[in-house]
Structure formats: structure tokens, C-alpha cells
Symmetry: C2
């Protein structure tokens, strides 16, 4: 029996856009709005909405400042976000390992 196969997968990271945002932030440390947008191919509105969900969950922090009089939005993971995301990655790896068991 394997009762916990999917229960521990954090629903917040199941949305492709949010998985993408966390992956960009995890790999780059921090990133600005435009970079994330380009990497994920999202619209402004869509990216903003997903960033807000992650911010409200306490998983990322968003800093707005002016650089050369242009607004710049920088995002980074919080320690809680990093911990939750690493836990999520581990769960994914466990599931992938199980799924690949049947390959041989």
C-alpha cells in the first residue's frame, strides 16, 4: 500500500505557471518580472496573478523599485518558499522513481 502517493504534493506548485516561477527563482536566486515573463511565456496579467498567489502563501517576496526612472519588480523565494519547494521537488522525484519502476 502506498497511501501517500499524491497527498503530499503541494497543490500550489501544481499549476504549471507557479512551478515555472519557482523553478526560475530556485535556479537564479532572484529574478525580475520581465525575465520570468520571457522564460515562461506568460502574459503580464497571468504572471502577476500567479506571483500574488505565491506571495500570499509566503513563498516569495516581491520588491518594487525604480531603476533609471523605470519600475522594476524583483522576485525571490523566502526561506519558507525554498523549504516548501524543495519538499515538493523531493515528492516529485519519489513519484517519478515509482513511475519509472515499471519501465524495465
Amino acid at each position: 500500500m502506498n497511501d501517500g502517493l499524491i497527498q503530499n504534493l503541494n497543490e500550489l506548485f501544481q499549476a504549471k505557471a507557479r512551478l515555472g516561477i519557482m523553478t526560475v527563482l530556485a535556479s537564479m536566486g532572484e529574478s525580475d518580472f520581465l525575465t520570468i515573463k520571457k522564460q515562461l511565456g506568460l502574459t503580464d496579467g497571468n504572471l502577476s496573478a500567479h506571483l500574488r498567489v505565491l506571495e500570499e502563501a509566503g513563498y516569495i517576496e516581491i520588491e518594487k523599485e525604480f531603476v533609471n526612472r523605470k519600475p522594476k519588480t524583483t522576485c525571490r523565494m523566502t526561506p519558507a518558499g525554498r523549504e516548501a519547494f524543495l519538499h515538493y521537488l523531493k515528492e516529485l522525484e519519489r513519484i517519478i522513481q515509482l513511475a519509472r519502476k515499471g519501465e524495465k
Copy 2:
């Protein structure tokens, strides 16, 4: 630039329940309704709905028969389902690898 970070992730497998169903079928070859239900902790209605989505996509086939006068539902992946799921697992692994890059 990495324009394809999340675009190739098959939306059908992003639902936790469907990821779980495919994982069970991939690891066990085939499985019956009750076993999948127990492994994933889903309700009958919920599991049925997700199985139907996967069947309609051509990713699994569902066989109903009577065993000792009791109905038994057996599910297995189709070749197309296996191919799509293996592709999905590869995409996930690529994303995980990228996310883990920033760990060091």
C-alpha cells in the same frame, strides 16, 4: 533564454489525481479500480471522472468484467499514454534539474 520551460508539460498530467493514476499504472502495468482508489485516497466519483478524462485522451483503456459475479474494472495505459507519460516525466526531470541548479 529558456522559452520552453513549462510549455511542454502536458496539462492533462498536472492534476494530482491523474499524475497519481498514471504513476500507479506505469509502475504496476495494470491495476483495478479499488487498488488505484486506495493508493490515491480518492472517492469513487473523483477517480471515475479522472479515469474518464484519461480514457478520452486515449491514454488509458478501461476494461469492465465480472469476477465471481462482482464487477471488476481494470485499467492500463495505452501505448500512446505510455509515450505521453514518459515524455511528461522527462520534462519534469528537466525542470527539477534546473530548479536544483541553484542549490549549491
